[in-house]
Subunit: 411 residues, 2 copies
């Protein structure tokens, strides 16, 4: 009997996958589970865009060009232009979600054994794409005490080595909600130039920035044309996760060529998803403004509630719809299991993502969790009621969190 590959047995898994059977069991037992673990928004997809798919009348569902439909790429270039990101349609490759863009970019830019520097905690599936590409992730640690701001250049330089080919960030960040400032990005850009690195930015949450703080793209940094690569997706912006439409955008012609060669292997991105994606670009700005305001309310609520819980360390995230929190528990993973297996508050409980798997450095994040505020305010209130009681009742508490380490100022 043949055995599977070694890598096939070691694909890094999503931080909350192990908890899913426990959540299923809790629900089967009649408990209500508030899902703050996932990135599936409860927001409606723009009806206009869904209608465009439903109103199609073609008779053959053909392959689209490997690089995506010309009409969609043209409108996408105009959309980026409206954000101050000047790109040509030919500088955009449409991908099957941001996931595929990340994989193709890693393959196009790094060879097996090369290294990519990623601030941790980071989107855990990056580990899996790095494994497929045979490249190593070099983490650089961000800290909850600074709201997970980017470390300074010296910290980055301490992990950049001869095999480092790229720095990869998510801005605003999943899982932390950190929004990186123009200054912080320009420091990264200087490093990219100094060491000849690609700067890959996953910017799928760009529309969800709060408190009037501006979003700044890596493609807006002058002189970074050959280094900057943008990863994008409509999944979160338009609550269209099932469309599976993303893009890889860069002005580096060699990278475009290599990404396109990988894109041609899989022939075509999804046809219906592209029709929907193209239609989202005709959706009025009021849709995103409303969604942004809704997430802002949820963020404020979640943060306000977390701030009042004794021993909990959190911060006000600047973007996306996630935040991290440190809980006064010995093991956040055990706490998450206990929430599902041994706890309920008025028949309900909460599912969270344990923080440890978002870090590549062993031992970090053991008392942290990620919360996705993808439920309506009423449900977030109820979920926070559960959490508050749970943190009181949980039997394996630890002493209150340590004071801020010296020298970690917010950037």
């Amino acid at each position: 009997m043949p055995s599977i590959s070694m890598r096939g047995g070691k694909v890094p898994m999503s931080p909350f996958r192990k908890l899913i059977p426990l959540a299923d069991k809790a629900k089967a037992a009649g408990k209500h589970v508030y899902h703050l673990n996932i990135g599936q928004p409860d927001i409606e997809t723009p009806a206009y865009a869904l209608q465009k798919v439903r109103a199609t009348d073609f008779k053959i569902l053909e392959y689209s060009p490997a690089e995506g439909n010309a009409s969609y790429r043209k409108k996408l270039a105009a959309y980026y232009g409206s954000l101050g990101i000047s790109v040509q349609p030919e500088e955009i490759i449409v991908t099957t979600g941001a996931s595929e863009a990340i994989l193709f970019i890693l393959l196009a830019c790094l060879d097996p054994g090369d290294e990519v520097v990623i601030p941790e905690p980071f989107y855990a599936n990056y580990n899996g794409f790095a494994q497929i590409a045979g490249v190593s992730v070099k983490p650089i640690t961000c800290h909850i005490e600074t709201g997970f701001a980017l470390p300074d250049s010296a910290a980055f330089e301490s992990v950049i080595g001869p095999k480092t080919r790229a720095i990869m960030i998510t801005n605003p960040s999943n899982p932390t909600g950190a929004l990186y400032s123009r200054q912080a990005l320009e420091e990264l850009a200087a490093l990219a130039r100094k060491y000849g690195l690609f700067l890959i930015a996953d910017e799928v949450y760009r529309d969800f920035c709060y408190d009037g703080r501006p979003f700044f793209s890596v493609l807006q940094i002058p002189g970074l044309e050959e280094h900057a690569i943008l990863v994008d997706s409509i999944s979160k912006r338009y609550s269209a996760c099932g469309a599976r439409v993303g893009s890889a955008v860069t002005r580096n012609r060699d990278v475009l060529g290599a990404v396109l060669r990988y894109a041609k292997l899989r022939l075509s991105p999804p046809a219906f998803g592209q029709i929907l994606a193209e239609a989202t670009l005709e959706v009025g700005e009021e849709y995103l403004a409303e969604v942004r305001e809704e997430y802002r309310r949820r963020r404020d609520l979640a943060y306000a509630r977390l701030s009042r819980m004794p021993g909990v360390v959190s911060y006000l995230p600047g973007g996306a719809f996630y935040c991290f929190a440190r809980f006064p528990v010995d093991s956040a993973e055990h706490f998450c299991r206990w929430l599902l297996e041994d706890f309920d508050h008025q028949g309900a409980t909460v599912m969270l993502s344990p923080g440890e798997s978002f870090y590549a450095t062993p031992g970090l994040g053991v008392d942290e969790v990620r919360l996705a505020y993808v439920l309506c305010c009423e449900d977030i209130e109820a979920a926070m009621d559960c959490l508050e009681v749970a943190l009181q009742e949980y039997p394996f508490k630890k002493q209150p969190a340590q004071p801020l380490p010296a020298g970690l100022a917010s950037r």
Copy 2:
């Protein structure tokens, strides 16, 4: 300035990609180009299935489960059951086209440096997926004189080595149209058992078998449960290439687990495509019967015309909608360029895929082409008129083909 990866510059390309600019130029100059180079069928997608997508009324386009929608997997298992392939829904992972299934299966079954044996000529994009997975393709040569029948076990054994982990076939074959007999498959199965190999079969053309010859799946071979892996797709069966829905099917639980872990990395197959795919399983058998009959007519016509052209070697393919032909030319690639650049017959010409890139062994297929009979009979007649005249006019002809090598009997 950072440079792209070495692999990114060497992604193996589709055999006809280099010809596309020439075809565009020919069309811009007013020539009609008959496309016999591509696998995009001109057949209509079942209207019933398109209508199911158009009649959806959900408000949020959510992620589907990474393994695919439960309702689709259940119906797919029933469909396979109706073919005599007994599988459970849990033994099916829905993928983003057959392309993704092939990549995930290679990753799940082989480690970097391992080898997969593939009969050549083969679908050229297998090279690219092998490159991503870091595995080597070991070709085993089939011959046009036998209609590209599978070589015997001794030939396979001559290329199976200590790093060989799998044999991969396409049945019926793209690019040759060869349909493998039960006996030939059972010989492969015996090899898989003897050497502890996976037997991966890309069976996306199973519905297009002609002359009453039966299709036999690797999942129908008794005792091969732990070895056999099926790759599938709705793209060709239902002319739904843009749906991007395929599947990986196996009874080997370890392989299923590993493929599912890779599937979870990319979160979800396309939502609309899955709705369409599920609906195709409710389309009456008369749809496929009509499509099969249409392809059969085209095949007969293409073969009849090729057979009458002096110096052309071909054969009657048993399945799919491709055939190979050997032309009395020095270089089929040059001939294909010449067709687009320097030839026309009553204002029209033909685009073909040069055969060489379908072979991994250097020097093979230089005087061969692949023809895809994806045009209606009238257009195939016109394309064959062009080809007949072109072969007379082409200035770089070679002597008529050699007689059949001894010992190459049809299997």
